[in-house]
């Protein structure tokens, strides 16, 4: 009977340890489900080119993450990209003329949406549309532009 007691204690400890490890893994290593549907409001924007923007990409303002991208789609009628984002409900005073650009974090980094505040007195709310957007910078176009500029500046 002594044997059973230590077995039970041992198993209990083991399971506890395992569960806390699981808990640790899900909370401490991930970006977490910090933005769940209930505490956020949804907003949409259209872009000519989304680059490599993916769902779950962060939405940041002044460098601080305030939401994330939930959906990236192609609109076959308007022939442009349609992005849906959710923003944390506490940020309910973002002017609705703010502009959304697709930026890259660091050199190897993934792309995210950066919001730049506008001056409007009405704010973004659930279902709002962001009208001022700036597409992702495509490297090839940039190089092309540079070459053309430097070419026209020279004696060609």
């Amino acid at each position: 009977m002594q044997q059973t007691r230590s077995v039970e204690v041992g198993t209990g400890l083991f399971v506890l340890l395992g569960m806390s490890a699981l808990f640790f893994m899900t909370t401490q290593t991930t970006g977490g489900e910090k933005f769940s549907a209930s505490e956020t409001f949804e907003v949409a924007a259209s872009f000519e080119n989304v680059g490599s923007l993916k769902p779950r990409a962060p939405v940041a303002m002044s460098g601080v993450t305030i939401g994330r991208v939930t959906d990236v789609r192609f609109d076959p009628v308007a022939l442009e990209a349609r992005v849906t984002l959710i923003i944390d409900s506490q940020y309910d005073q973002i002017p609705d003329d703010s502009d959304a650009s697709i930026l890259t974090s660091g050199l190897l980094g993934s792309q995210y949406i950066g919001l730049q505040a506008g001056g409007s007195e009405t704010y973004l709310e659930n279902g709002s549309e962001i009208y001022f957007t700036q597409s992702a910078i495509v490297l090839e176009n940039l190089i092309g532009k540079f070459l053309v500029n430097s070419g026209s500046g020279g004696d060609e």
Binding site: E8, L17, A21, L22, T26, T29, T30, R56
Partner: protein
């Protein structure tokens, strides 16, 4: 030539037959599982202890060093691109998605799987299973199912422990030894690792747990009741589990990417 074809034919046939028999065995175990869990949880608890708690040492030690090595290698190779700060990300993704489940499964097969197979094989060889049948006790329910369930429950927990110990090892190596910034290590990780990655790891650990436990119990139960037979069953457990785990890992990864 004819002989070769005949051999191939009978080998393939045998393989299919064994595989089918294995599936039926799996269903039998599943069928008895709910009743065992409800009526004799004590048996299952004891087996969780045997397969899980007793494997802690090997899992934690190996986890720590695997994490440490990942930290070292990750740092060394990322340094070429000046991306040392991403060490956290690299280590976490590798551990959570791949190395955690796979290495734990292999260690599990080696430690717990062999213990299960040899224990059951020996019970068969010394007539204990026969005695149970004579006493009107179903050996599948009394001996096999608790051990199977014990392994299935223990595996995901062991994987989680391995992964966390690995992260700790990487942390120690990166931050204390290689002077990576603590903030960068964890922050980069948190930005890049998704809950989906964790789900993938947990799913794998569950699947591997089922496969490893089932194979161990199967080999033991079907061992030839001699010293040589039990030894062979033990070796086969490790080999077949290893192969199956790696193949399944590939398949699951392919599907989830």
């Amino acid at each position: 030539m004819k002989g070769l074809l005949q051999d191939l034919h009978s080998n393939v046939f045998e393989f299919v037959r064994t595989f089918g028999s294995f599936q039926i065995f799996f269903l039998r175990i599943i069928r008895h599982s709910p009743r065992v869990l409800l009526r004799r949880p004590g048996l299952v608890v004891k087996q969780i202890y045997n397969t899980g708690a007793l494997s802690l040492v090997i899992i934690m030690v190996c986890g720590f060093f695997v994490g440490g090595v990942l930290g070292l290698q990750g740092y060394a190779n990322l340094a070429r691109f000046n991306a040392e700060d991403s060490v956290g990300t690299v280590v976490a993704l590798a551990l959570i998605k791949e190395l955690g489940p796979v290495i734990t499964a292999l260690l599990f097969a080696g430690r717990a799987g062999t213990a299960l197979a040899s224990e059951i094989g020996l019970m068969k060889a010394t007539d204990q299973l026969s005695a149970m049948e004579m006493m009107a006790v179903n050996p599948v329910r009394r001996v096999l199912v608790p051990r199977f369930l014990g392994g299935v429950i223990a595996m995901p927990l062991l994987v989680a422990i391995f992964t966390c110990t690995g992260l700790f090892g990487a942390h120690v190596v990166s931050i204390d030894l290689l002077n990576v910034d603590v903030g960068a290590f964890w922050q980069q990780m948190q930005l890049s690792v998704d809950i989906d990655d964790v789900y993938e790891g947990v799913l794998k650990s569950f699947v591997f747990g089922v496969v490893a436990s089932l194979l161990a119990v199967w080999e033991g139960f079907n061992a030839i009741p001699t010293a040589e037979g039990v030894g062979r069953a033990t070796t086969r457990t490790v080999v077949i589990t290893a192969i199956s785990v790696l193949i399944l890992d590939f398949m699951i990864t392919a599907v989830m990417i």
